[in-house]
Amino acid sequence: MNLIAFFDLIAAAGFGAAVLIVIFFVSRDYFHFQSRVLLLLSLSVCLLVSISNVLEHAGITEYFDPFEDYLEILFTPFFLFFLFSVHAKLNHDQRLTAEAALRSALEKAEAEHSKLEAILAAIGDGISIQDRNFKVLYQNKVQKEMAGDHVGKFCYEAYEQRSEPCRGCPVEASFFDSRVHKAERSATRGNDTQYVEITASPIINHKGEVYAGIEVVRDVTNRKRMTEEILKAQKLESIGLLAGGIAHDFNNLLAAILGNISLAKTYAASDSKVMAKLEAAEKASLRGRELTKQLLTFSKGGTPVKKVMNINRLVRESSIFSLPGAGVKCIFALSDGLWPVEVDASQLSQVVNNLVINAGQAMPEGGLIHVSTENIMLSPGNSTFLAPGKYVCIGFTDQGQGIGAGHLSRIFDPFYSTKTGGTGLGLATAFSIIKNHGGHITVKSSPGAGAKFQIYLPAVEKGIEPTPAKDDELFTGQGRILFMDDDAAVRILAQDMLQHLGYKIVLANNGMEAVNIYKAAMEENNPFDAVILDLEVPSGMGGSEAGKKILTINPAAKILVSSGYSNESVMANLGKYGFVGIIPKPYKIQELSRKLHDYLGNPLPKR
């Protein structure tokens, strides 16, 4: 074999091998159908030419030689189309890959956008983005609900109806110095004022330039109102402490005065001049007692002694009783099936008195006071800041001249009054009483449009307790009574009263002395029938501790407590402390006689 035939053989082997590899080892995944066909055609042309060359130069036959040249011409276009085909396939694949990548990126971006939108909505604050010209680029759902959809509009036009950016705009400030700025705004709609806190932060691009600003708008109306409520409560507490301290001492003095008067009345003839003077003095003392009671109720010691009741009757009677005079009438809309509430009847009556008297005074020319009661379900986040649940709402609406915004915010402040001769304690006391009942009192008013007070009291599931009948009789009795009070005047008065009623009395001036006397009496087998203890003893053992010790000596001891304060929880939870009853100071001899008759004559209440 010559050299040329050898190279032809190599060429034939090479092309032949290439054809076989393409047929058997290169799949459609790598070259698609057209490319494979074109490559096979190119290679086949070359293979045929090589075989023809081998046959010719090996001296076998020259038969195929004339076809060689034409075959060779075919190779180039086949190869060229093969290249085009591969190139087109590559381009197509690249485009598909790019499209898939783009689609995936878009899906990711969509998912991120949805996530971001959900986060922004969950924040609960209004969020908007504004460009350097204050044009709104984006608003989240909350912001749209708060202010409407204003995307594409200028924020100062959309939100504030202005023709230029607002003065002190926090977004403008953040554009200026690239820092976070805060501002507070208020908007009044009807009778409601909405307060919002705006936080603006700049959005900075990769060049460090501020190109937009984010504005976060938070509704702080509730927070602001709550702060005001806390401040009001703190103010009431501090003034209450002062008032309560004074009232306590004053109450002891009144106890002595009133007691002595009532005792003196029993000595005097019913038609004498002395009796008339004593009655006048008693009336004045009773007015003093009412004022002291108001002060004590308003002070910290005003824990209500509650009973479960339907308040419709109380509201009606107290309202009618408090009507200031001719020209003013009450119109009642009292709900049937009102839920029962647990209230101190005398305290609630005081609240109704104060509100009706105020309403009457607001209508000097006369008018109507609409008094209503209704059941209300308060939902979470209500404007009263009360826990959600069942409440009874008492409403008082007058037709007076109304209250100006300046007075409205201070109306429940103690000693704040716009009336000549007003003590400024009426509404403060009402506020304090309702707070102590776990309720809330609100007022809505504007000048010339009257005022509407609403009292919310928590409803209870308990049954209504029967109300005892009033009795002004004097009950005499028998038995030994141990009486403890730190005030000498009260002790002497009690001694006179109880002796007058037929009881034997032993006096003690503090808790320790009372315990010792009680113990000695028990040891001598001469026990007391009842013990009356003063709860407040500043310089020694108080009534609650003394009572506890006496009960350890004799668990069947009948202990009554007496105090000017509705002190802490003792007065409201007598059974828990083991006491059988209370005698609030100051008291008349009739009240004392009735209490002793009730408690000594009846079996012990359940402890």
Partner: protein, 95 residues
């Protein structure tokens, strides 16, 4: 002298060569070096075929057949490379 088919073949090959060189320079089809080399060998064979008619017949005829042989080897190598790459890719995908 020159045969008509050889001239046509050269012209078509020249046009294709321009396209191939352009494709090589722009890296349009990656992993095609052996195919380009094979085409260049075939093109060289076409040129030698033409020259052998006017000059040193023996030498250029031999060069023509050597070029053809190298072309065959190049295409075989190119196809083999693709088959190996495909095997590797399938192996990776199987993992």
């Amino acid at each position: 002298m020159f045969q008509e088919s050889e001239l046509i073949n050269l012209c078509v090959s020249l046009i294709t060569l321009v396209i191939v060189v352009s494709a090589i320079r722009r890296h349009e089809i990656p992993g095609f070096a052996w195919f380009y080399a094979g085409f260049c060998c075939i093109f060289a064979a076409a040129v030698f075929t033409l020259i052998e008619g006017v000059l040193w017949n023996e030498l250029f005829n031999t060069l023509e057949h050597i070029s053809y042989g190298l072309g065959g080897v190049s295409f075989a190598a190119g196809c083999l490379e693709i088959a190996v790459k495909q095997q590797k890719r399938q192996g990776r995908e199987a993992q």
